[in-house]
Amino acid sequence: MASLTINGRTYEIDAEPDTPLLWAIRENAGLTGTKYGCGVAQCGACTVHVDGQQVRSCSMALSEAIGKQITTIEGLASEGGVHKVQQAWIDHDVPQCGYCQSGMIMAVAALLETVPQPTDEDIDLAITNICRCGTFQQVREAIHAAASA
């Protein structure tokens, strides 16, 4: 048993220490907003925040996450609210299939924490998530909108 703090709540996780954090979140904690796309840190669909940093959760072991603050898409906004990145996503109608968007939004939220007014170059460097539907144009517009919100 391991104790994980996700979105401010404690979850008792019955999984081996080397279980990828992604699967502990999805299958043990039951929070399915965080997605599996590749399992090898390539796509970013599994992006969560660990102590405020964006992390590809498929490639972090459960044991490394113990004692840290984990935030998933379900906990990005304060209780009952909408985070400014989510709001920009809604205003700009960003998602197509939406499967990559939890990870995309988490990566962008982390970027805006460190770089509140990112340039296009900042965005290019920081946001490397794959979106097979190809929403990048709307993602960029929405990032700038969220930054000035």
């Binding site: 997605k35 590749c38 939406g98 990559c100 965005i123 946001i127 097979r132 709307q138």
Partner: protein, 724 residues
């Protein structure tokens, strides 16, 4: 507002009556003839349910997979219904329901950019008929003639008296009326909901983690399965040693799946996958074990010159004679590889099988095909099977297939009463795609002494999709889909008139299974033809735009989109220093498309795309906002394919197993797409796929302009060409 997937297996149980029987299940014999929706509300008709709280539920049979069809179709119904758009929500009828009601919702299949263009007529009529019934119900209540009633935003007004009543108040009475025999549809010029840039209905849940995809399904007592199918197509499963893993934590069962696969069932998917990887498995690779990309390439190459048999797709005049009398001929050979759809969400399906019932939850582009697969794989009669469509994390054609559903049913059958979620790993997904077909093409053009193009022969050699996927669609052994974008007429017609023309196909079908891959055969056909048109123009020292225009006088719609991009990119004015332009046009899925790009190249191999201009004439534009998104996304799909997309074959299997070797574009590589939407009316074209095919040639032609080098095979990474 928004679309909530119908997870409730009892959905529509109340509405299972065949529409013609006059009887609804759960309704006392002799009672009203209305058909009831899951929540007990009577449906006005199959397309429209209006709840007492004025919520308008529009039934959508086609699948949403990100392309916006759900919203577009709802707009069309709402337009004719004249309801309040802010109260519209949607739901999927189930395929089992459709079968029970004599396919009242028509075709469920969602591919070929057909979501809107082949169902706009009957869904609009559904909305219009519902409106007439609602008016009739109000008129009956007021004892007033229908002709004195008007509707707007879900409110019916009796014009002379000024009385009003809302749709929700008369919906129940309307449900009992005879549907009108004939309805008149609005002229698109008068649209107020359709044709407008409205937001999608399903966005919010996609931003907060609440949207449920197939991979997220949870059912009581559910177990998870991971699977390995023989990596060599056509090979079989020889043996596996489950003694090594049966003691591992969470592992419940190891099952053989058909002739070629083995699955591990466990409490969690992670346990199932880890155990599967630890289990020794022996394959019989079978007769394809020695096939490689090289051997396939060689075989296709032979088809470029093979005399016979070749199927003729388009023919005019006599190319042989034209070549014989030509002042000059130009020849080039092009090639296009296998590519995986690589949807973000790997294939998955959840199945609950008992002796009495087989139920499937899955993201699919074709609910009816999944239904048929469930019936066949379960061995149960069709009234004992049901399919619940879940939001798919991308489709791109891959989810029109049902192989993963059959596997899930086969596993669930071995564990009756336990819901089984089968999910493929990314690796399994990469190794068991239904790949973009592999082809090569040899093109020969002939000029007369005045540099007029008098002959063109385009020989395609390679794989047919239909021969493998839908053999019943073959025509005397020929696959007509091979000629997409090259036909003499129709929804994928060539935009040039060449007096002596021959486009033919030497069919060669390697063992790697092909599928419909977003854009299908227009993708490579556009690269072949539009690059070669550029070659021809340069070979006679003519401007590529002017050269095309001369051949397009009989193709005004093709020409219009080409002219539009030329004008927007500023073709006749010089490009900025160091920047070079490329241009092309094509037609597919009923729409006319063209693109122009501006790129710069450094070091001969580093491409920066500065501008992309794309024009689309889809006839009618149901939602310009969503069309813009489809077009921008199409360039990401098409340029990812151009720069990176290749699945190579070695030892009979695909070599690329994940995104590290099968890359996709990211933010930094993607320029803005300037989209010109120019619907000219009178026809209905698709928008989810057509522009993919002009992405690559517009860049390749610009690359030639910049470097003088003609690239004739995809992907560019094989030529060491990368994004700057």
């Amino acid at each position: 507002m928004g679309h909530a997937p119908q997870l409730n297996r009892r959905s529509f149980v109340l509405g299972t009556a065949a529409i013609g029987s006059g009887l609804a299940l759960g309704i006392p014999f002799g009672g009203p003839t209305a058909v009831y929706a899951a929540d007990g509300t009577p449906e006005v008709n199959a397309w429209v349910v209006i709840r007492p709280d004025e919520t308008v539920v529009v039934r959508i049979a086609r699948s949403e997979m990100g392309q916006g069809t759900l919203t577009g179709l709802a707009q069309l119904v709402a337009e004719e219904l004249e309801c309040d758009w802010s109260r519209v929500t949607t739901e999927y009828p189930t395929p089992g329901q459709s079968v029970a009601r004599k396919r009242v919702w028509g075709d469920f299949s969602t591919g070929g950019s057909r979501g809107v263009r082949t169902s706009h007529d009957y869904v609009r009529k559904g909305g219009a008929a519902a409106r007439l019934m609602l008016i009739q119900a109000a008129a009956n209540e007021w004892a007033a003639p229908v002709s004195e009633c008007a509707t707007s935003k879900g409110v019916i007004t009796h014009v002379p008296s000024g009385r009003t009543i809302t749709y929700g108040k008369v919906a129940e009475a309307a449900a009992k009326l005879q549907p009108p025999a004939d309805v008149k549809l609005k002229d698109p010029k008068d649209w107020i909901i359709a044709g407008k840039p409205l937001k999608r209905l399903d966005t919010v849940e996609k931003t907060n983690g609440k949207m449920i995809y197939g991979a997220d399904i949870k059912l009581p007592g559910m177990l998870n399965a991971a699977i390995k199918d023989c990596p060599v197509f056509g090979g079989t499963l020889k043996s596996f040693d489950d003694s090594k893993i049966l003691g591992m934590k969470g592992v419940k069962k190891v099952v053989r799946v058909g002739e070629s696969a083995v699955a591990v069932v466990a409490d969690t998917w992670w346990h199932a996958k880890s155990a599967l990887e630890a289990m020794p498995v022996v394959w019989d690779d079978g007769k394809n074990a020695s096939v490689s990309s090289e051997s396939i390439g060689k075989w296709l190459q032979e088809g470029l010159d093979a005399a016979q048999p070749a199927f003729v797709g388009n023919k005019a005049g006599d190319v042989k004679a034209a070549f014989a009398g030509a002042a000059k001929t130009v020849e080039a050979v092009y090639a296009y590889p296998y590519q995986n759809h690589a949807t973000m969400e790997p294939m998955n399906a959840t199945v609950l099988y008992t002796a009495e019932k087989c139920e499937v939850w899955t993201g699919t582009q074709n609910g009816e095909a999944v239904f048929a697969a469930a019936v066949e794989a379960s061995g149960l009669p069709s009234d004992k099977c049901e399919v619940y469509k879940i939001m798919p994390g991308g489709g791109f054609g891959r989810r029109g297939m049902t192989d993963y559903v059959r596997q899930a049913v086969a596993i669930a059958k071995q564990m009756p009463g336990t819901p089984i979620k089968l999910m493929w790993s990314r690796e399994e997904d990469m190794l068991h795609g239904r790949y973009h077909p592999i082809t090569q093409s040899k093109l020969v053009g002939a000029f007369d002494a005045d540099n007029n193009l008098i002959g063109l022969h385009m020989r395609i050699s390679g794989q047919s999709i239909l021969a493998s996927v839908r053999p019943e669609g073959m025509q005397n052994g020929m696959d007509p889909v091979t000629f997409q974008g090259l036909n003499a007429s129709g929804e994928a017609a060539i935009g040039y008139t060449v007096p002596n023309l021959l486009i033919d196909h030497s069919m060669r079908n390697p063992h790697v299974p092909p599928g419909f891959w977003r854009g299908v055969n227009v993708n490579q056909n556009a690269i072949y033809l539009e690059s070669f048109m550029d070659e021809l123009a340069h070979s006679v020292g003519q401007d590529p735009l002017e050269f095309r225009r001369k051949l397009m006088t009989k193709h005004p719609k093709h020409l219009a989109v080409l002219n539009a991009v030329a004008e927007r990119i500023g073709w006749t004015t010089p490009a900025p220093q160091g920047v070079f332009r490329g241009i092309c046009q094509h037609m597919g899925f009923g729409s006319y498309v063209a693109a122009a790009t501006e790129i710069s190249v450094t070091g001969g191999n580093k491409i920066k795309i500065h501008r992309i201009v794309a024009a689309t004439d889809p006839g009618y534009a149901v939602n310009p906002w969503q069309i813009d998104r489809q077009i921008a996304g199409s360039f990401v799909y098409g340029l990812s394919a151009l720069f990176y997309g290749e699945c190579t074959v070695k030892g009979g299997r695909i070599e690329q197993e994940n995104f590290d070797t099968y890359q996709s574009m990211t933010m930094k590589e993607m320029p803005k797409v300037e989209s010109i939407l120019m619907p000219s009316g009178g026809f209905w074209g698709g928008v989810g796929e057509p522009t993919i095919c002009v992405a690559a040639p517009a860049v390749l032609n610009a690359y030639f302009a910049a470097t003088g080098k003609r690239i004739r095979s995809v992907p560019l990474k094989n030529h060491d060409i990368i994004f700057a």
